[in-house]
């Protein structure tokens, strides 16, 4: 029997995401994949499965889900209000989703992109080697109510009731960048001002990129706008004609002619994508060798995430209907004899 997760209601930005599809850059297709790759790794660590498994990315809000079989689910990334059959469940944790139960995930209370992972992974048909929707490219689209998502097999004995403490990243903060091939077209004073400036996340943004607004004037090059179109990678900070920076993300274009003042370290991109409109950022240039050391250490930390998973201890404040729980084994309402 095919296991499926049925989408009963869906927010506007629920998509299937994995680590993306490398190999098509030469044809203009960026790798894509989960906006917050760390959240993907956290979900995999919680469920004890491979980071390559596809999950559901929920931009801003989740939806309502129903399982056709007993499943394990993990929730990571932006924090959203979640309930199973009306009982609140914790974020950054795994839970059992029994057959027929209703999982509801509301709007994000902190951050932008929440993730719903399922034990066994979302097993939709891969396209060009991956399951990720690439919205900018028109590869798949946000999911609509009624969708049956095939779910892979999961061990019946696999654990639930586990949590992890996520790397803090939902509120903006310091973003580390390296100089890139066009950093030098900006005068040193302009680069210094870039590092000294506080930026605010604009409401304009999607999986292609995020616009950020400086608290002072925009940034300008000495050469003007006409630079040769050159390779773009996610993290590049492009300065458009009016001087406003745009941080390019998972579904970015593959080449472009707007000059780029620097490139965000891949391990700091989750901090960019999870910042809600109004969150503030500062930027700090790192030397390339320091950036490589940071990235390498971060990759090692991600690989060890499963060792940080710990038992979930329920906080009574998170349980909406506390009285519905049988808190003391064997306790009854005291009217058993009358009812019998």
């Amino acid at each position: 029997m095919t296991r499926a997760l049925i989408l009963r209601k869906a927010g506007p930005g629920v998509t299937v995401q994995d680590t993306g599809r490398p190999g098509y850059l030469a044809f203009g297709l960026s790798r894509g994949g989960a906006a917050d790759r760390l959240a993907l790794a956290e979900g995999a660590a919680l469920l004890g499965q491979d980071t390559g498994f596809a999950a559901l990315e929920m931009a801003g809000a989740g939806g309502e889900f129903e399982a056709t079989d007993d499943m394990r689910i993990a929730l990571t990334g932006a924090v959203m209000r979640a309930h199973i059959d009306g009982t609140a469940i914790q974020w950054n944790a795994i839970h059992r989703l029994p057959i027929g139960a209703r999982l509801t995930i509301g709007a994000a209370t902190r951050g932008v992109y929440g993730y719903l992972h399922v034990g066994g992974g979302v097993q939709t048909q891969p396209k060009l080697g991956a399951r990720s929707a690439h919205l900018a490219a028109g590869i798949d689209a946000p999911l609509t109510p009624g969708t049956h998502l095939p779910i892979g097999p999961d061990s019946k004995a696999a654990p639930v009731g586990l949590r992890l403490t996520p790397e803090p990243r939902l509120d903006g903060g310091l973003i580390r960048v390296v100089p890139s091939l066009q950093t030098n077209v900006f005068a040193p004073a302009e680069r210094d001002r870039f590092e000294a400036t506080t930026f605010r996340r604009d409401a304009r943004g999607n999986r292609m990129g995020a616009r950020i607004l400086p608290d002072g004037q925009g940034f300008h090059t000495e050469t003007g706008l006409t630079v040769l179109s050159e390779v773009i990678v996610p993290g590049d900070i492009q300065i458009t004609g009016d001087g406003t920076p745009f941080i390019l993300l998972s579904e970015c274009q593959t080449t472009g002619g707007y000059p780029r003042i620097g490139s965000v370290l891949p391990c700091d991109l989750p901090r960019v994508v999870q910042a809600a409109p109004g969150a503030t950022f500062r930027f700090q240039f790192l030397l390339l060798e320091d950036a490589v050391a940071v990235e390498t250490a971060e990759a090692q930390r991600r690989a060890r995430l499963h060792t940080t998973v710990e038992p979930l201890i329920r906080n009574p404040h998170d349980i909406a209907d506390l009285l519905a729980y049988q808190l003391i084994d064997g306790a009854t309402a005291g009217d058993d004899l009358e009812r019998a």
């Binding site: 490398p22 190999g23 850059l25 030469a26 044809f27 203009g28 297709l29 790798r31 396209k127 060009l128 900018a136 490219a137 028109g138 590869i139 390296v178 100089p179 890139s180 091939l181 003007g224 706008l225 006409t226 040769l228 179109s229 050159e230 390779v231 990678v233 996610p234 993290g235 590049d236 458009t240 004609g241 009016d242 274009q253 593959t254 080449t255 472009g256 002619g257 707007y258 490139s263 370290l265 891949p266 390339l288 950036a291 490589v292 990235e295 390498t296 990759a299």
Partner: protein, 252 residues
């Protein structure tokens, strides 16, 4: 390194190797688009793919550069750069031939009208009337210099010097898929609806990316294209055809 390649570097300072982000390197054969540099980038990427280095995760070309992304745990930037320099020294990449198996495409195009509202503005920026602009662009046999920005989307050129017009400072909110746009002596044919700073001068019905097909991408770097004028009515009749009336022939 051959004597010719050495003299090219001495004369021009190219090729140059620079970093892209944290895990990428870019081998550039010039700082502006020119025929030998474009050819060198295409040929060097083919050689890099052929070399099959273990830690290389992806390669691509832009107009005058070859890009590679590599695994940071494989080798240091210095070591990969040394490998690239060794490969560069094996031949004169500026004199390398264009890729084999190229095609000439003829693509029906509506110039101006409400389908492509920036023809007059672009013509004026180039110092031409709209009629002169159509005459020039529609007879220019342009080459796919690179595919980039988005799916299957070609940068084509090179147009005469008076077409060296800048991109707009404010982005156009969106141009539709199939839009033919112009700036800096190049044409760009859009494969998806997107915001852009390029001026929209023509409209085609060619679908450049077909995810459902075994060959999802239509154009390849090195192909040549003629954007032949047609009427809005004719274009409208071609909308059910993924080729949008375009036909191709092999280039010998």
């Amino acid at each position: 390194m051959s004597a010719t390649a050495r003299s090219d570097i001495a004369r021009t300072g190219w090729p140059q190797i620079r970093t892209v982000g944290v895990d990428g390197l870019l081998v550039s054969f010039g700082d502006r688009l020119n025929e030998p540099a474009n050819r060198a980038a295409l040929a060097f990427r083919a050689a890099l793919e052929g070399a099959g280095w273990a830690g290389v995760q992806e390669t691509a070309t832009s107009l005058v550069s070859t890009y590679l992304r590599f695994d940071l745990t494989w080798k240091s930037h210095d070591a990969v750069t040394a490998d690239l320099q060794a490969l560069l020294s094996t031949q004169d990449w500026f004199k390398a031939p264009l890729p084999a198996g190229r095609k000439l495409w003829r693509v029906p195009t509506v110039y101006g009208t409400d389908l492509a509202p920036q023809l007059d503005e672009a013509a004026s920026a180039a110092g031409l009337t709209a009629e002169q602009a159509i005459a020039e662009i529609s007879t220019a046999r342009v080459r796919v210099q690179t595919i980039g920005f988005s799916l299957g989307m070609p940068y084509l050129g090179e147009l005469p010097e008076h077409w060296n017009i800048p991109r707009q400072t404010q982005l156009t909110d969106k141009v539709p898929a199939g839009a033919l746009t112009v700036a800096i002596r190049q044409l760009v044919l859009f494969s998806v609806t997107t915001p852009t700073g390029w001026r929209h001068i023509g409209q085609t019905a060619l679908r450049l990316f077909r995810p459902e097909s075994d060959t999802p991408f239509v154009l390849r770097p090195g192909d040549e294209v003629l954007f032949e004028p047609t009427s809005p009515e004719t274009l409208s009749n071609m909308s059910g055809d993924p080729d949008g009336g375009a036909v191709s022939e092999a280039l010998i």
